[in-house]
């Protein structure tokens, strides 16, 4: 096992982790505001198909800018779909779990419908921002060989962590999630803040989705996210609603998923392959058990998570 081998493996880990990390970071903000949006999978797919469609249709006219515009469009489209969810759960006070599941199913269906004409089409992958001298370097490629979305995902985790813990706006967002009635009574616009949080979560889920159709495998295939949205949701719980742990957790999941592939290809057949596939989930259950055994210590679950807020006035 040499250095090049480890670097190759790390590059795979980063690729596996990034979309999940993006979606989970968005969902963290949503849940911190006291709303649980289970529609991540649907929003990711809407983002994936939108990003692909824009890059495909405007690839010639936009040139080098096409993937950037595609990613922004992916974020906007997914945010727009999340506004449907927001209107239902915030303004109409519908059940968040049921509405979120509906959004997931809606997104799967809508993306398949939009994507019908794009099956079997290809676009230029949205790879590598750094020049070849860095991205192609046998060692430094471990830092520089990635799509801009990889760096964006890392930056967003830090921005979100800083926002939640170090800014006044973040404090207000957390207050809304902890006790919506108190926040309302001292004059904070609870619903407006939650709308904004849901839109942000939608945008990041959409950008995470576009990573599949524009970076990892530059093509459109129905349901190409194959359940990553649900892993992102699990990751938020796994992280105890903390940005730092979210980053560690996402890479932990990514490493486990990659290890599974290496173990199989290297012939470690003394462990059944199904056990490897189940590892991330076994770990999630183990961590959840530890968190609950320690009570609320370590977990920062918002107190109002999933509760509708209907001000009487």
């Amino acid at each position: 096992m040499n250095l090049a081998f480890i670097i190759d493996a790390l590059v795979t880990v980063v690729g596996v982790t990034t979309p999940i990390l993006l979606a989970a970071t968005g969902e963290l903000i949503v849940e911190k505001s006291g709303v649980i949006n289970l529609g991540v999978e649907g929003m990711m797919l809407i983002g994936a198909v939108t990003g692909f469609a824009v890059a495909f249709n405007y690839g010639d006219s936009l040139g080098d800018w096409a993937p950037w515009v595609g990613v922004i469009a992916a974020g906007l489209a997914a945010a727009a779909s999340s506004m449907l969810f927001a209107a239902l759960v915030l303004t109409l006070g519908s059940n968040q779990v049921a509405t979120g599941l509906a959004l997931a199913i809606f997104g799967i269906g809508l993306s398949s419908l939009i994507g019908t004409g794009y099956v079997g089409m290809i676009i230029q992958p949205f790879n590598q921002v750094f020049p070849d001298s860095l991205a192609g370097d046998p060692f430094w490629r471990v830092l520089f060989a990635y799509s801009p979305l990889v760096y964006f995902a890392l930056i967003m985790v830090f921005v979100v962590g800083w926002f939640l813990n170090r800014t006044r706006a973040g404090l207000v967002l957390r207050a809304v999630g902890e006790n919506d009635i108190s926040a309302h009574s001292i004059g904070y616009p609870v619903l407006a803040i939650r709308y904004a949080a849901i839109a942000f979560g939608g945008a990041l889920a959409g950008i995470g989705g576009s990573y599949f159709s524009m970076v990892m495998t530059p093509m459109w295939a129905q349901q190409m996210t194959a359940g990553r949205g649900w892993i992102a949701l699990a990751l938020v719980v796994f992280s105890g609603w903390r940005a730092g742990r979210l980053l560690v957790g996402a890479y932990f999941f990514g490493i486990l998923m990659t290890l599974e592939l290496y173990a199989k290809a290297s012939g470690f057949s003394f462990v059944p392959s199904q056990f490897w596939a189940a590892m991330p989930y076994i770990m999630a259950v183990a961590v959840l058990a530890v968190i609950s055994a320690r009570g609320v210590v370590g977990s920062e679950a918002p107190a109002c998570l999933g509760r509708p807020f209907m001000p009487s006035s």
Binding site: T12, G15, M216, T217, A221, Q223, A226, L261, K264
Partner: protein
């Protein structure tokens, strides 16, 4: 507030339901209704896509005489049974369940619905109203294996699989044996991703195989994701289910195409003239259900010729990849010299040949 009361809604709904029934009664002969169950989305550009293409070819060939609906993304677990039964309730007389994983579910549904005919793809369990059909994709994999064995410089080739089921195991063995026939030092690294369709995992697995030294990778999953990785890594790969050359113009050497149309047409015709009987067919190059895509022009002529020779051998019966001697991973002889494996043994194959690393 609303003018639609429950009663008036029910009236409209009933009227709406009655309409298509009336319309259908107007025809003299009702078209034969058929249902298809697919494991993946029809847009996967692989397995389900190919079956759907077969369905469309049948609809085109028997226009007016048949109608055929499909259900996509049906899980290969107990939840398939209500879906199959639902198709029967909608009036479908012949139901195709197009994946190995529907075997027990198809048999179960067939037991409960003796008047409905079923066709199960790639299985080995039979019943009076269940026919079994399959394609010898392993024949295609021996062509792919021959090419891989000749094109590989490292002597390590990769196989990206889905599940350890006979269909995949025979593919792995055919690929490895045919590659070893042209280069005895070949080893095959095998990764099963426990899914038929998961582009992200397929891509990660292909990257892993490339990182472990494989310079030719074949896929037994349903999307072109692995090919795109091959293209990026400047190694070779093969399409699965369809010609995928446009996803990887340099890496794509050829593809194993699934052609189901002629079979579906023949079965629909048998239903129409009342001669349908449960059959057990296993077709291949000879019958035209397995077809290789055009070779990549970059492939050397001697490789093309070797591949063509294998195809011709399958067609005239002079070639068989499962001809002995064949030893399994532990070195135990499974097929003695001078013998060929029987179909019944191939169909339940659950051991890997020597040279497979899994």
């Amino acid at each position: 507030m609303s003018l639609v009361t429950r009663r008036s809604f029910m009236k409209t709904a009933t009227a709406g339901l009655a309409l298509p029934a009336l319309g259908r009664g107007a025809f003299a002969a009702e078209p034969l209704k058929m249902g298809f169950v697919y494991p993946g989305p029809v847009g996967d550009f692989g397995w389900s896509w190919a079956h759907n293409k077969g369905r469309l070819a049948m609809l085109e060939a028997l226009k007016g005489q048949v109608v055929a609906d499909y259900v996509e993304n049906v899980k290969e677990d107990a939840s398939a049974i209500p879906i199959i039964k639902d198709l029967a309730q909608q009036g479908n007389k012949l139901i195709f369940t197009a994946s190995f994983g529907y075997m027990d579910q198809t048999i179960e549904a067939a037991k409960q619905l003796p008047d409905i005919k079923f066709e199960h793809c790639a299985g080995y369990k039979h019943a009076d109203n269940v026919g079994v059909y399959n394609s010898r994709f392993y024949q295609g994999r021996s062509v792919v294996g021959t090419i891989a064995g000749m094109m590989s410089k490292t002597g390590t080739i990769g196989y990206l699989g889905s599940f350890k089921i006979p269909e995949v195991v025979m593919g792995v063995n055919s690929f490895t044996l045919s590659a070893q026939a042209v280069n005895p030092k070949i080893t095959t690294k095998l990764v099963m991703i426990d899914s038929w369709f998961d582009p992200a995992k397929e891509a990660a697995a292909a990257e892993t195989l490339a990182n472990l030294g494989c310079d030719v990778i074949t896929t037994h999953t349903d999307s072109p994701a692995a090919l795109q990785v091959c293209e990026k890594r400047k190694i070779y790969g093969f399409g699965q289910g369809a010609n995928m050359s446009k996803f990887a113009p340099h890496a794509h050497l050829t593809a194993i195409e699934d052609i189901w149309g002629p079979y579906y047409i023949s079965r629909a015709k048998a239903m129409l003239d009342g001669t349908w009987k449960p059959d057990d067919v296993w077709m291949g190059f000879k019958e035209g259900t397995v077809v290789m895509s055009p070779y990549n022009p970059a492939m050397p002529d001697n490789v093309k010729a070797a591949a063509d020779k294998i195809i011709a051998g399958w067609k005239d019966g002079s070639y068989d990849v499962f001809a002995g001697p064949i030893a399994d991973q532990s070195g135990k002889e499974r097929v003695p010299k001078g013998e060929r494996m029987q179909d019944k043994d191939i169909a339940v194959m659950d051991w890997y040949v020597q040279g497979v690393q899994s």
